[in-house]
């Protein structure tokens, strides 16, 4: 990545004023990266930005409130930062944002599907167009475009929407238009029992680890989530699909008008449940009814916290 050195220099210059800068570095195998907390100059050397930089680091910001934090953001991550600013959960003066032109990150489950498994990756070379993976004495080349996360193939915000430093050339944000909800729409075409049955089946394997929630940058209740609370007592701890599904609805509804579809919920799920669809549906509604998109303007008021006397796009039932 051409801009990486520029970015390292940038971080290095600002580091003395910051408690920590969060980026990514190599992880347990060549196919994975991991969040990287840089506190000293030598930590910066390990910074690696690549299509493996999947994690939305904005998730860490509310927990670091009160500290001077630097954060490296993809375009999508920056929208979470905007939301956190909008909701007063972080202080602008304490956060230094480093942007870069993001060309997309991979979807590990697509790679896993393509290769059968990814348990023994020995090396992974990445270019703009391909991933060359050596594993089980074989070298396989995967087209980058096909391995990108869905959010990246249709990305409208490759550049951070808010940043203090931007390394490299901006790609250009397309803004909010032509959002593709084909997957949701296709799902909605299924029959009622098909839809109902789908979730019963998919959520059956949920282990209620709440990685979806904890990876979500906007799940800010943290230690006081309704999921485990008795007051309010929304859910039981029994292993049943009802409560698992209810939790997903709670998550999606609480994100209505806030979710930027960063996809961390689904990415974090250790058992690959397609939980992002709930949020996409909610966002589709928010967009159609209120022409609103989260994570663009820190000064905006999200639609469910406001109203109009006359709602142009709400047609009420006539009895």
């Amino acid at each position: 990545m051409k801009f990486q050195e520029e970015l390292k220099k940038c971080i290095s210059d600002v580091m003395p004023e910051l408690d920590v800068v969060i980026g990514w570095c190599a992880s347990f195998d060549p196919l994975h990266a991991t969040p990287h907390f840089m506190r000293r100059k030598e930590d910066i050397d390990k910074l690696e930005i690549s299509p493996l930089s999947v994690h939305n680091l904005a998730t860490y910001l509310p927990g670091l409130r009160g500290k001077k934090v630097g954060i490296v953001v993809k375009g999508c991550d920056s929208r979470s930062v905007v939301e956190l600013l909008q909701e007063n959960l972080i202080d602008r003066k304490d956060v230094t944002i480093f942007g870069f032109p993001c060309t997309g990150v991979v979807d590990q489950s697509k790679i896993k599907k393509a290769l059968g498994h990814t348990g023994n990756v020995e090396s992974c070379e990445m270019s703009d167009t391909a991933l060359v993976i050596k594993m089980d004495d074989k070298t396989q080349t995967l087209a980058m475009a096909e391995m990108l996360a869905d959010k990246c193939s249709s990305c409208r915000y490759p550049d951070a929407v808010i940043s203090d430093y931007f390394a490299g050339e901006k790609i250009g944000n397309k803004g909010e238009k032509d959002v593709d909800y084909a997957a949701v729409e296709a799902f909605e075409k299924l029959s009622v029992p098909e839809r109902f049955g789908y979730w019963l089946k998919e959520l059956d394997r949920c282990i209620r680890c709440y990685a979806c929630r904890n990876a979500c940058p906007l799940c800010v209740c943290r230690d006081h989530c309704a999921a485990e609370s008795r007051d309010p007592h929304w859910l039981s701890q029994e292993n049943n699909v009802r409560d698992k599904l209810m939790f997903q609805v709670i998550h999606a509804y609480h994100l209505a008008g806030r979710c930027t579809e960063c996809g961390e919920c689904q990415r974090a799920c250790p058992v690959d449940i397609p939980v992002l669809m709930f949020k996409q549906k909610m966002n589709q509604e928010i967009r159609e009814i209120f022409q609103y998109e989260a994570g663009v303007d820190p000064e905006a008021t999200p639609p469910l916290l406001s109203f109009k006397m006359e709602e142009e796009n709400i047609t009420e039932k006539v009895w």
């Binding site: 680890c209 709440y210 250790p270």
Partner: protein, 351 residues
Amino acid sequence: MGLVKYLKSADLTPWLEELAQENKVFAPRYEGDAVIFAPFDPKQEISIKHAATMPPKKTVFPQSEKLVDFTYSKDPEDLSRVMIEGKEVLPEGTAVVFGGRPCDVRGFTMFDRVYLAEKTTDVYYKARRDNTSFITLACEKPETTCFCHWVGSSPYDATGSDVLATPIEDGYVLESFSPKGQKLLTSKLLENGDRWISKGQEVNENAVESLTDAPDLSRAPQKLLDVFDNMNFWEKAAAKCLSCGACAYLCPSCYCFNITDETTGMKGTRFRSWDNCMSAQFTMEASGHNPRPTKAHRLKNRVGHKFSYYPGIHDGVISCCGCGRCIKSCPVGIDIREIVQEAINHEPAIG
């Protein structure tokens, strides 16, 4: 050495069907993009090429289980006199779990020391443990996240298993390690395995061969105690932790639980459900005080428990089976191996 049998690959499904006549059989299969242990269904393909996404923990330690059904009743003469009658719900029936890996099944031995302790036997756990047999699949090649050999195990470790199945060309060498296992190997579909023994051993040895060198963890228990009060160490280690429960719930040796009552009208149920020490509620006290208020405290407990406190009271046995799921499935790639090694190598600042 127990009974040794040979099973042709083609006979695997018929054999499992046969076992399913008298037992509930669990085998790994794809659900969505994840491989989980599910009730065996001959119509659905099983997936045993690689370790499953989730270990078969649920088969003995369900995600939630009914402990007691209770009913309130009233004295018709005095409605304010309420009686409660509880009915213990003990698990019934036998089960066979096929396709767990040595690490997965060895995990239950960590449970056993706690739940089958002489004075405090957990009757629910015991009922399932006694009635469940494990046909474990030896590993041919370790994954990058595997480290069973660090924690005293191996790719063909049969600890906790009833039968160990080593895959060889076109079939499996099956060896029993318990009377339960022996009973499983009486099927007519199986042939005598003696002539395949050496083939199996070869696969086992090759697997060991392909392991990288294991570091010495013998100092881990003490070293982890040494850094117990070093919150700097733990805050650094936990910086990227999300405090979710994926690591614990996918861990074959994590056995913590929570107990809750759910009541509807005059009836109720007491449930036991999985809990995990990464959750803020785990040690939340009724007063509102939490002795483990931050994720650093919680991660310290998870690592400390597995590599120091548990070994401290259970003859040095590390309560980790090295399956690597916590590394592989962690949304942010926390590597427990790194943390333990850092603790071992940690030198307290002088002065």
